[in-house]
Symmetry: C2
Subunit: 412 residues, 2 copies
Amino acid sequence: MNAIIVTIGDEILVGQTVDTNSAHIAKELNKLGIAIDEILSISDTEEHIKQALNQYVGRADFVFLTGGIGPTNDDITKHVLTEYFNDKLVIYPEILDKIKNFFERFNKPFLEVNRLQALLPENARIIENTRGTASGMWFKKGKSNIFSMPGVPYEMKGLLDDFLAELVKEYPLGNLYHNTVRVTGIGESYLAEQLKEWEQKILNKNISVSYLPSVGELKIRLTGKLDQKEFIDQNIDYLLTEKRKYVYGREHESIVRVIGDILIERNLTLGTVESCTGGSIAKQIVSMSGSSEFYNGSIVSYTNELKANLVGVKQETLDANGAVSEQVVREMAINGAKILGTDYCISVSGIAGPSGGSDAKPVGTVWIGLTCPEGTYAKKFSFGYNRKRNIQASVYAGLNFLRLSLIEEINL
Amino acid sequence: MNAIIVTIGDEILVGQTVDTNSAHIAKELNKLGIAIDEILSISDTEEHIKQALNQYVGRADFVFLTGGIGPTNDDITKHVLTEYFNDKLVIYPEILDKIKNFFERFNKPFLEVNRLQALLPENARIIENTRGTASGMWFKKGKSNIFSMPGVPYEMKGLLDDFLAELVKEYPLGNLYHNTVRVTGIGESYLAEQLKEWEQKILNKNISVSYLPSVGELKIRLTGKLDQKEFIDQNIDYLLTEKRKYVYGREHESIVRVIGDILIERNLTLGTVESCTGGSIAKQIVSMSGSSEFYNGSIVSYTNELKANLVGVKQETLDANGAVSEQVVREMAINGAKILGTDYCISVSGIAGPSGGSDAKPVGTVWIGLTCPEGTYAKKFSFGYNRKRNIQASVYAGLNFLRLSLIEEINL
């Protein structure tokens, strides 16, 4: 079974919108063993939509279309599809009622333009959108299933779930198998060097090994056939145990989840005191649902005044060493744990850039501190040159610093 | 002039990586008036890479390839391209020196696999990568320019800049014109209703109007020919002045930038006290380079203990009203401004979900407070149902609350 994803909309072609939908759809289809052949982005014109339909309908088992079915004038996908499949638009009264309810629930006035969202192709199968007003439309032609969804990611995800739940009733799905681990604290080429022999053993079994780097972390993915699941899983376990200094978790386990699970199990609490990361560590932690079970909170002491007055870093420590120093992050971590009432506290002070660097402390210099029940550690990191990247790398380094201490792999 | 972007790599097709590169490339090309016809993602196999080259070389003026030129075994793009263009791989000594320097600069050992990064096609034009070890390769065939870059976004961006700087020396570029505004605090269909007549006037001039919604904000983009620039700019100005309650800035102006510019100009300072957003507002502010000129910092009081002990919210206020209440966000904002020593303080307390909701306060209920020199405001918001979305919408609502107060459009 194979699929094609087609995103419709100028916003992607002019670079105004990053296409996150395709990654989500691809991930969900992969779980079902449906391989994605291609992902194509086209402009929202009748000509381009028809051209894509001509190209893929009949060739692929599934064609997923996103975008162009909203309420505004630039949304033409519904009309093009209705014509292409020789269908006609009619009002669906039960959809109209649901759209009206949707507006009532949020206390918003119902406009004529919203009524048009209940005008849908008569012969397509309509999948109700519980998160918005643009319904999903499921057309069939030959061996191909064509499914059209809105481009708003939140709405698309809900509709895709409902659509796939219907799909698995009709098709026997599932024959590819992936398993993935997440890595931090080491570069791609160093890890590949360490894993050279192991990798050759995997490749000899016709299982592919992919290295997927991003800022602060790396993923390693093994892909084979479903009947190789056991071998793949064993090798994933090997990485998780033998390389645990770097390999921190499975695909669905964020580093926050890994840390959080340990802290919750041991009934320990965490706080953070951030300077250059400006709340990014806190944000990452709080993105985990249930983080309130171990996370108390953070002080973002962005100015030196707050480092002194609120966090209680000694003025002489700041004067003698500067804010980006071992001594300052140590005091931030120790005092932070006291103020926030936590067992552990991560602290960060660095130069994110683009300004603020010097010869002695260039942009990208970041000190990270950690207070634990056993003592306080601090370590200096030298990252790249760009503000966003320095911040993101610092977030991972701070969280990994704590992880290494929790699994007793810290080595300073 | 037209272009095609081809991303190479299974990581996108299996949904493990979101393709942010294409949006960046598209945006940069659009500035030069190069329209993107299609964006295609394919798997990193010889067959698919060749198929894409056959499809686009000769048809498009520019073909941008990303991915598959890293140091690990799964990177095959360089080899496929070298064969396709009848070239051969040779060591470039000056590139080898630069790669060695790159490793020395970061105090990292130089491995054999890194040496292979200096093995490049003899007849292609090589663009040096100052941010990594995979060089850019520029091939020409007929009217087509084919440019291959690494998939790591940070490295790709640097190489693209250098490549485009060369390109504009050889080609006369520029004939499309876009202008965009950013909107928050109103839904797509309501704004479209308000702008109905205005929109018709624009469309009558053959200028397209696109609404681009995302969580918390919306963009409106006008696209026409370069000789319609004046008319487009006038209409963008119209939106910025006449609809300023919702239209907060131009495309490159984040809401933080808009607020920051006003605060810096008036020599005012800002702090934040966050509960359910857990540092996300701080993170958004600090992502702006130069934010230290107006932003002091934040307290992320995620627990009720910290709200009481660190922020000084009265225990009886918490007991009588609960943490998600008007009274609590008022005290958070007032006390926050004092503790952080700022003129303005935004506070947030809400139920991000998925747990913690009740009939009286369902998931998505968020109170936002704001202390200003003129007084303290508070407002309740009811967002959707998903944790990430509730947090993101709260960030925009909090920042917009401050913006409305700064431009004297607040209306409570």
